[in-house]
Amino acid sequence: MTTNGAPPPVLSLKGVNTHYGAAHILKDVDIDIHAGEMVCLLGGNASGKTTTLKTMLGYLRPSSGTVYMDGENVNGWSTAQRVGHGLTMVPENRRLFKRMTVKENLEIGAYLRQSDDLDADYERVFEMFPRVKERLTQKAGTLSGGEQQMVAMGRALMAQPKVLLMDEPSMGLAPVLVAQNFEIIEQINKAGVTVFVVEQNANMALSIADRGYVLQTGKIVLDDTSQALLANPQMRAAYLGDV
């Protein structure tokens, strides 16, 4: 993978095909994500966005092709191993453990870091989301949508991610909260975490991402910088709401 000394991508898919039962979801997908980047994956419903994330995490196994982390083939790794190596996901619709307390949700985020001292991590989460600290002993199911989003982000940060995978962070949130959420994602990226955002809201995602991929029925059809994608007429017609 490595050529002329440049570091390999922190995460990449090479010629990945993923099936869900008999359905062929991902078709020869190539994605490279480099350290420190913010990359987005755009696409409509059922284009294979979530499948891409689950394949990256090893929750789904590709039928062919390879997933690399830091240039290493991780096809044989379990999800837990990949999470342990810094790949963390914020699932669509947050998917908190609603019957568990906020504190316990954060603890589950740090599940694989049992030997570490977590105090500094809690502080970091509380600094970013003071509300989370107030709600610590409450059941996660009793929180508002915005608060749940904060806990979901906090839970992911507790894993000390190197690469943060975000599945539709704008889903089910009021516009104000969406903007706030994207600000936080930017902030996390600036702090050195590589971010891969999967979104239907192409305008929002491209406004903060460095680069973007466009997924259409399981195929990558466009792959460019955010500016180029925003200027692309084909893109504007299909995803950015131009008529």
Binding site: A80, P91, R99, E104, I108, Y111, A159
Partner: protein, 362 residues
């Protein structure tokens, strides 16, 4: 049939909240309540049993019920993570009781049995616990894990098969004869504190069950492994995406459920000192009933359900049925237990503490 019923009731429900079905159910509720109250009134006013006898029935109910509760934990925890009823769990209990018998029998001829009964009892308990844990884990590995992606009915049917397999395996290995547990002299007779009299065996059972249940509750609430179990029970996919090894968590659940059933098996031998290869069936069904009564999937519910069921079936026949001059009312305790199950399913399908599980996982 259900479809036809819903189709019929829907327009009626739109017109008013009162449907023929709900009228019928209310009538049934009132009738059952009347039967219970009138029967209780007749029994109590007849003065057939003294206060002390009522108390004994009650305490007996608690001690039997706490064993049901221990077994019920296995049903409810497995249901929590896998959403199916492991009908082989009664056999996990039986194998523990069987091992307890063999270990107790071996110990009974040694001086340890009389010199330090507490240690002997502990050895019996631990042996039963380990055996049941091992069996539970083996069943999971062989019978259920290969079916992980299958529709839920498939592992359910498999569990019935596993149940028969274990029964007849034990029958083949140790023979069909009923074995009787060696007596423990220091546990004979009663224990008295402040005028309250209780059989020593019952006291041991209740205390041991309480300790195990308290320990389990703390384990599930406070430890990392316990939290991972709750996370998997609530949302296995997200738990997996957070890096929790779901398969290992499921093994832990089976192991802990097995350990609880093993303890129940050893305790069972103290109270009902005869056991054979079929002894797991009835307690297993009762424990399943307890789990449903308490709200399947809910750990505290299983504990409450077990103790409640023990009390119902111990006190119920003398309280309700004796009043109607039913000749062999004490033979009807199983009827009371299953009637309780049916009534819970009709009037409160979610059990005492249950939540609407169908809505939690889609």
């Amino acid at each position: 049939m259900t479809q036809a019923a819903t189709v019929e009731t829907r327009p009626a429900r739109r017109a008013s909240r009162i449907t023929p079905v709900s009228v019928f159910l209310w009538a049934l509720r009132i009738a059952i309540l009347a039967i219970i109250l009138y029967g209780s009134y007749l029994s109590i006013s007849s003065g057939r049993l003294s206060a002390a006898q009522w108390r004994d029935l009650f305490v007996f109910g608690i001690s039997t019920g706490s064993m049901y509760a221990l077994i019920a934990l296995g049903y409810t925890m497995v249901y929590g993570v896998l959403r199916f009823i492991n009908f082989a769990h009664g056999e996990v209990f039986m194998v523990g009781a069987m091992m307890a018998f063999y270990v107790a029998n071996a110990l009974a001829v040694t001086p340890l049995w009389t010199s330090s009964p507490a240690v002997s009892l502990l050895i019996v308990l631990v042996a039963a616990m380990f055996t049941s844990t091992a069996i539970a884990v083996i069943i999971e590995r062989i019978a259920y894990r290969p079916l992980r992606g299958a529709p839920r009915l498939i592992p359910l049917i498999t569990s019935i098969g596993a149940s028969f397999t274990i029964q007849y395996l034990v029958r083949g290995l140790v023979g069909p004869a009923t074995k009787s547990f060696p007596r423990m002299e220091p546990l004979r007779g009663t224990f008295e504190f402040g005028g309250f009299v209780i059989l020593k065996t019952q006291l041991v059972v209740i205390v041991a069950a309480l300790v195990m249940m308290g320990g389990l509750y703390l384990f599930v609430e406070k430890t990392r492994t316990g939290k991972s179990m709750r996370a998997v029970a609530e949302d296995p996919e997200t738990a997996a995406l957070m890096g929790i090894n779901v398969d290992r968590t499921i093994v832990n659940v089976f192991a802990i459920g097995g350990a609880m059933a093993g303890v129940a098996g050893a305790l069972w031998g103290l109270v009902f000192p005869s056991i054979n290869f079929f002894s797991g069936f009835l307690p297993g069904i009762k424990a399943f009933t307890s789990a449903v009564l308490g709200g399947i999937g809910n750990i505290v519910g299983a504990m409450l359900g077990g103790v409640s069921l023990g009390i119902f079936e111990s006190v119920g026949p003398s309280l309700v049925l004796a009043g109607y001059e039913i000749p062999a009312f004490s033979q009807l305790k199983d009827v009371v237990a299953y009637a309780a199950l049916v009534l819970v399913l009709i009037f409160r399908p979610t059990g005492i503490l249950g939540e609407r599980l169908a809505q939690e996982r889609t």
